[in-house]
Amino acid sequence: MRPSSFWGSPRGRRLPMTMSVSESVVFGSIPQPAYMPCEECGASVPVGERDEHVCSERRRLEYRLFQLRAELAVFEGQSAEYLESPQGRFALWYAERERRLKRA
């Protein structure tokens, strides 16, 4: 019986089969993080579980507010400035009066 042909024909030796040159899954690729933050809510999610991830609404809002913190700071500054102005003081006084009238 002829021997197995893993090493090629018995008459001549062939080199053993080499691995294909396709990228090794474990060592050939550039490191990828095991976790990545969700783009919607910023929560750290295992990369393999991204499809199942459901954002917490609270977290999503907090994340969005965090992204807008610079604009919010500007708005708060402008709002405080307006309320200190004559028009702003009048608007405050008027709103308070309307509120009392509605309660009465």
């Binding site: 690729s29 550039i30 490191p31 990828q32 993080p33 095991a34 976790y35 990545m36 933050p37 910023g42 929560a43 750290s44 907090e62 994340y63 965090f66 992204q67």
Partner: protein
């Protein structure tokens, strides 16, 4: 000191200092002669003050930082700790402005414990993964 007591000291550093920001216990747990090497860091960490600065840097960047100990192995005076850390990037880190993104990284420390304190340390953690998660380093796309 038993290996269990040594592990407990390292656990206290992780639970109280890193995860709860108890900087007041650093002098109790870190020896004056403490020296630590963190792979990738430009300088060694020296003494309680050096350790304090290192902790503050990361806790300012991640105020809700929490470290979970996954495994500990101890022999003689050495304690090996494998850990996972999670925190929200709410402060500047290495020049990178806060992103609000939550990041998770893992690492290993080897500490030598003597006289009830940490006297030496060697550690490494997935810094690349951390930087990728906060967007400081791009994540290559798999082809």
């Amino acid at each position: 000191m038993s290996t269990e007591e040594e592990k407990a000291i390292v656990r206290r550093v992780n639970d109280e200092v890193w995860s709860r920001g108890r900087l007041d216990v650093i002098d109790e747990l870190i020896a004056d002669e403490f020296v630590a090497t963190v792979i990738g860091a430009p300088e060694q960490i020296r003494g309680p003050q050096g350790f304090r600065e290192f902790v503050v840097m990361y806790r300012k960047a991640f105020p809700d930082l929490r470290i979970t100990i996954d495994e500990q192995i101890a022999e003689g005076e050495s304690v090996v700790t494998r850990w996972t850390a999670t925190g929200t990037h709410e402060g500047e880190l290495m020049g990178m402005a806060a992103t609000g993104k939550q990041a998770t990284t893992a690492g290993i420390n080897v500490n030598r414990v003597s006289g009830g304190k940490l006297v030496e340390g060697w550690g490494l953690f997935d810094q690349l993964g951390l930087l990728q998660q906060i967007g400081a380093v791009p994540v290559p796309t798999r082809v």
